[in-house]
């Protein structure tokens, strides 16, 4: 049985790189990622209540709001953050479609869009909207974000 009762070193795999980090048992993944030890500040703290999606990362390819995941839960799992999306089609699509204004929500949307493109072949518009509804953009760039994600999910249409 795995147990964590005090600050302890755990092994994580983030963006395909193994790393050891000391965590508290009650520490969220968002906090661990953004902490000094890892310094991965791409996942943004927004509501820290599971509502806004700005902190979304992928765990074994599945989008998760990292403010609602304990780091202790994801030891030995593959974690992908926005820093691991360099040179991916979704990143290019967001630039091409100008799918951001202030940019605070962008990393969360990028992660959801990337996961959708990887996970669901030919996602329908309804499915795409359903996935994107997990995130909030206070600048309301929703149409451009939808267009960017769609252009990756359905490259033949763009």
């Amino acid at each position: 049985m795995k147990s964590l009762t005090k600050p302890e070193q755990v092994s994580l795999t983030i963006n395909q790189e193994p790393c050891d980090v000391v965590i508290y048992p009650g520490e969220t993944l968002l906090y661990t990622l953004r902490g000094d030890a890892l310094g991965l500040t791409g996942a943004k703290p927004g509501c820290e209540n599971g509502d806004c999606g700005a902190c979304t990362v992928l765990v074994d390819g599945v989008p998760m709001k990292s403010c609602m995941v304990l780091t202790a839960e994801v030891e030995d799992r593959d974690i992908l953050t926005v820093e691991g999306l360099k040179e991916t089609p979704i990143q290019r699509a967001f630039m091409d479609q100008q799918a951001f204004q202030c940019g605070y929500c962008t990393s969360g949307f990028l992660m959801v869009g990337h996961a959708l493109a990887q996970d669901v072949a030919n996602a329908s518009p309804e499915r795409t909207i359903e996935w994107l509804r997990s995130n909030i953009c206070r600048c309301t760039s929703y149409q451009e974000i939808y267009d960017a994600v769609s252009s990756v999910v359905h490259p033949e249409r763009s």
Binding site: K2, P25, E27, Y31, G50, V62, K65, C67, L70, W131
Partner: protein, 281 residues
Amino acid sequence: MIVHPFDYYRPDTLKAALAIHEELAREGRHPIYYGGGTEILTRSRLNEGRFDAVIDLKNIPETRQHGTDRGQYRFGAGVRLTELASEDLWPFLTATADRIADHTTRGQITLGGNLLSTLPYREAILPFLLTDSSTADVAGKHGVQSRALRDIYDQKLNLKPGEFLVSVTVDGQEAKGMAFRSYKMTRQDWIDYPLVTIAVARREDGSIRAAFSGWANYPFTSSHVNHILSETSRSARDRAARAVSSMPHQALTDIHGSREYREFVTQYTLTNILKELEASQ
């Protein structure tokens, strides 16, 4: 954020989970079982909830069962809501559970976490409330016991201290024999807690059963309301109106809507559901 200090345990077996819970409780600690964690962590952030240890059940194989077992559909308590939808073993459950929260969050919420939530909604229970055959498999000091859902559900799933939900089952024939509709009505946004979620089943004998979430502080079904809804000689609109005025509880008034608005939305939605179900016969 580091939520308030607590210890984390991730047992691999039912026995180990029960044992660590018992040990911690004996030491005067306050352990809780942990599924997807969404509710525990968000409440913890608000300094709500009294616990100093979490026991993560998701690594226990029995809580991850998901499939058909001797004619029974079995849904492990550790199965995530998106996994329920993607397998779509029981479309009535999919239709109801797939409207809880948002897609990403459903990838974290487990079935057991929703059924045993402290929030009033717990929509995933609705289809099970409309069956005769649903059982809850509960781990406790006497091993895993299968209990009829109707025997342990009274406003909530009533488990004894130290027990936890392993899985829920429903007879496959009964589940397949139900025509259904499940609609979640929200005040404004698609993603929100329900003003009311209505799950309706037309059973093989033609009788109608309905279960409601959001109307009261807990999900419920009512044999009296079901009797009214089954009087098919009356119009759908008449039955829906009589059902709404015969509910066992008054509708809530809260931030999502007034009592009157809930009644209006419920009556309107119920009328449409009855018409749809009966048109599809």
